[in-house]
Structures are given as C-alpha cells and as structure tokens.
Symmetry: C2
Subunit: 362 residues, 2 copies
Amino acid sequence: MNKLLDAFKQTTFQVNGHGPRKIQVLKEAFENLDGQLESEMYGKGKLIEDFQEKMAFVLGKEAAVFFPSGTMAQQIAMRIWCDEKGLKKVAYHPLCHLEVHEEDGLRELHQIESVLLADKTRVIEFEDVAGMKEDAACVLLELPQREIGGQLPDYQTLEAISAYCKEKGIMLHLDGARLFEILPYYEKTAAEICSLFDSVYISFYKGIGGIAGAVLAGDSDFIEKSKIWKRRHGGDLISLYPYYLSADYYFEKRIGKMKQYYEHAKELAGFYNQCYGVTTKPEVPVSNMFHVHFDAPKEEMEQVLTEICVESGIGLSGHIREVTETNSYFEVSVGDLYEILPREKLMDAFKLLDEKMRTKFL
Amino acid sequence: MNKLLDAFKQTTFQVNGHGPRKIQVLKEAFENLDGQLESEMYGKGKLIEDFQEKMAFVLGKEAAVFFPSGTMAQQIAMRIWCDEKGLKKVAYHPLCHLEVHEEDGLRELHQIESVLLADKTRVIEFEDVAGMKEDAACVLLELPQREIGGQLPDYQTLEAISAYCKEKGIMLHLDGARLFEILPYYEKTAAEICSLFDSVYISFYKGIGGIAGAVLAGDSDFIEKSKIWKRRHGGDLISLYPYYLSADYYFEKRIGKMKQYYEHAKELAGFYNQCYGVTTKPEVPVSNMFHVHFDAPKEEMEQVLTEICVESGIGLSGHIREVTETNSYFEVSVGDLYEILPREKLMDAFKLLDEKMRTKFL
C-alpha cells in the first residue's frame, strides 16, 4: 500500500504533532467528565453555552457559536457579510481553504465569487488589499497562511489592512484555524489580534489537538444570523458535545504550550536546514508549523524517509507530496510528541537524512 | 422557568424514550472500545467504511455514507436528483422536515422549490402523487409521517407510488428517520422497504438512541456525488467517529427491540384513550410513536401533567404544545424506559390523569 506511511507508523518516536488520531483522544477527554451532565439540544443548553461564552471572551468578541467544521463556519461568515453588503464577492489568498479544499462550496451553495489576492508564493500584503481591482464584501486573511508553510505578514500590515477595510466599508474576516499557534510570534493575545477583524473562525483540531469542530465569533447580530445558516447547512446537530467538550479539554491542556511548540519548531527547522538539499519554508518558523522542501523527486524522498524510519526508529513524516518533478515537500506541525523525543535519537535521524541526501543527490 | 419540565425531570419513572440525553450515552458506547482504534480521516478509514458497508447491506443498497445530520443528507439527496433531472423541484408532505425544520435550507442553499402533496392532516396517498399538478424531479416520502403522530400509508400504496414514479422517471426518496421503528408493523425488512426507493436516509438518534448522525444510501454513483456535496456543506469532518461508533453500538443494542417498542406503544396508547378528553393519533400506533391530544388548552394541561409528576412520581411528558386555544398535544416515543416501569405505578398515573381531566373539563 503506502510503504512510507506503514514504516512511519512502526517507528518508536514520531517528530510531529500530538500523536496518532486514535479514539483514545475522545476517551481521555471524557474520562473525568461526569456522565450525568446533560447534552445540549440543538445548540441550547448550559454546556455548549458556557463553552461558547468562554471562547467569545478568549477572542474578545460579543458572541461565539460552535460549529462542526470550519468549512461550514467560514462559508456562512462569507454569506452573511455578502448579504449585508449586497455583493456576492469575497477576496482571499489563492491557497485559501475555501478556494482549494471545499469542492467549491462557496460558489455551489452560496453563489459567491472570489477575488484572489497576492500570488501562491507569498502572504497578502497591504498593497494587495488597497490595490484590489474589484469590489468585495469581505476580505479573508488566513493567519498563518498554511499552504505556504504557515507564513505571516508583519503585525503592522494587519493593522493597516484592518484600518483600510474599516475606512472602505469592507468586512474583514480572520481564518484563525491556527490562531493560538501564532500568538507567541506576534506577542499578542488572541483578543488583540481579533480586534482587527469583524469575524473570526478558530479550529480545535490543529494545535489544540481536539477531535473536530470550530468556533465562529463576532458581534451578537452576526452570530445570531450564523445560527440560522448553521441549521440550513445541516450543522445544528441535536448534540455536538463529543466535539466541544473535547475541544475544551484539549484547549485547557495545550493553550499554555503554544510558546513551547513555537520554540521547538524553530529548533527543528534549524536541523532540517543543516541537511543537504533540504530547506524549510519559512526558513525560521513563525508558529508551530513549517514546510520541509527537498531538492529531490517525491518517489526518491519516499525511499529516503522510509529508510530513516527503519534505520533510526524515528519518523520524520509519514507523507510526502510532489511540488514539481524534481521537488517535493512535507508539512510539519510541532506538538506534544517533540518534547519526549530522545535528543540523541533525533540527531541520529538528521545525520542519516544528511548522509542519504548527499549520497543520492550531491 | 418551565414548571412541567422541572417536575418531569424529578420523577422517579419516565414513560417515554430511552432516558435523558446525558453524556453517559457517549461514555457507555465507548467504554468497551479499544482506545488504540484509529480515527478515519475525512471519510476514509476502516472504521467508517466498515460501518457504511454494514448499513448499505442492512438497507439493501449498493453504497452508504455517514452524515453528521439528516438535514444535510436529505438536502443533498434532493440536490443530486434535481441536478440529474435538470429540474429544481421536489414533492413532499407539507409537514416534511425540509419544509418545517430547516430554515428553508433547500431553497436558500440549493434553490430547490417544493411541491406539497396531501394536506397537513393525513399521509400522502397514491392519488396525491399521480395527481401532481407540477413536475418534480423527486418525491420524498417520510415513513412514518412524524408530525401527524407517525402515521403510515398501506404497504400497497408504497408499492403503487414506487411503480408510478419508476414509470414516470421521478426519483423516489425515503425519509427513513424512523425506518426501523415501522418494520414490525409492515412485517418487512429494511431492505425490502428500501427496494421501493432510489435513495434512503436513516437516523441514529430516534429509536436507535445514538448521539446524532445519519446514513444516506443508494447506488454507488449517487453516493459518490453525495460525498462531494458533504464536503461542500461542511459535513466532511476529519473525524465523525464519536457519532458512527455510538450509532453502531446502539444499533446493535436496540435493533432487536423495535417489535417490543411497537407493542408497548399500542398498549400505552390504549391507556391514554381510556382517559376522559384524551385521544391518540393514530388511535392504534403503527410504530413506537404517537401523539397524545387533549381537549384542553396547553396551560391547563401543563398544570395537570405537573401535578401527575408530583403526585405519582411518573412523568408522562415534559413538554406540551398548543394545537388551538382549546387543544394541546405531546409526542410519545416508546423506548427502553417503558419496560422498567412498575405497572401499578403507571396505572396510578393514568387513574390520576382520567380523574383530573374529568374534574377539570367534564
């Protein structure tokens, strides 16, 4: 089947993430919860309302609502802003989740067109927004920009874009799937960053490591409208507690570790950059994530990475993707596993990587 | 707040359902599952595929896919059939879930119009379908028709509608939210009933008593298309296992008890019908559910039902709804709780109900 993934799963130590997505993740979250707690009913009930209020507070917004997915939450945010502005157009990055991962739901379900800002190699800058050739009801910024390794604009750029949008009456939405992961770099609170945006979405299964689910936050009127659209999308389940109770558990477990993940990501990227034919994007990470690029084709790197799994017992990645015929990459998100890696084993793995790259490609 | 619901929650015995929706429902389902089982990833993986294959087999269809909600599954089924027929119109009952409980998602997200069959007081008959004044891409039948107490047409009517739709090239979809609950009445298997339909949706939190979630089944091409729409709707979560593993657990626990629930429902309806000013709809249930109608206003019945909770320790219902200013009703779904009710306590409650109705309203 997939030789690399199989070898990766059999390693003693894996470098990225919080560990495999096993159902133990759910069992752990519920282990110490009282079974007599009552489920919410279609979004109403103490458990879900408490969690939503907590998240509204964390994000510095009037209100928040829990969604089964970010795909649903963000399409709905776009729809509400488009309806409010009477303009079915939103502006975002060419590698925005809505553009590349949602089977064109925004167009197919909401008839909303996209205006693409910047190009696929870099983040959106102030000039991209100020120089937009078409009107848009909303600008969406993804922080960090995941598909280019998790890059970020300067904080001053965010402030300038926010002020510009406010002046021009353009709504500004934050795709904050990895919002908590960038706080150490910006040295800001989540609420400080969110204050630049009219609406914000956050995810609970990236750095937080929950099972699934998202929160959309904004002013109360916006959130009330989003609940109607949530029902229309089929997201207003009778019980969402398996997700938001786990989200809350892992939020509490990991929210204080984002700085550690960030520092570890910088260290780990440094190890990759010391190897022949290997570079990271960004060179110095600005969150817990980055991409590792190889000057070598996907198939050959699969072989190299598989050998490292077998020879060192260290799994650097279970996946690798083609960039071009001669280049490939994988994504790294640092989580809980990194801190328990024996340092000398990790060094062995990087020594192997450098040797194999030199032998094969120098 | 709600006096009746509060009193109901404090009763020793409750007549309807499987018990309160507490998080113990999730904990019980996962208690004996191995924590090392691996989550699916966005719909792909052994656990979800095994469950989907099992449900496809139970329903006698080529393929099945798990959805977070029936709202999502059914809108998508309607969209696929409308696209296939090049006609944005579907026909269903005026009290169909899509018409009354989904904030008009079918129109707002899919621009699909509805043709209403029959009227609000009765089920759809053959003549309603054959006499349709407008073309429709699809006819949707809900079995049993929940909002009128869970009524059913004759099985011969289903066969006739199915043959007619096949002849006319109209797709036939089954809203089988309570499909398993009607098998004892029809004396058919789920697959036999589903063979009359092109597509079918079933739910896991009605008679099955799971947490949430639905399955959509049909031929393979239809199901592949539904997966693309599931992604567009924001329903293709990275992990849906909290729902489908619970669904499977409670399916196994309760699928064999549908006949018992049905027999108990008939008995219970009989007790109600013996009381003054009380009738059930249908008079003799055809599934585990029915509605109890009172010749008395909602507010007065709230008082009566609250008193019965306090005086007998038996909770007949925690809710009551207005029909008109002088009539009210509540819904009954018989589940696991009925069998553990002490018979003499139940008789006390009905004696009280009859006495109070006579005293107040005779």
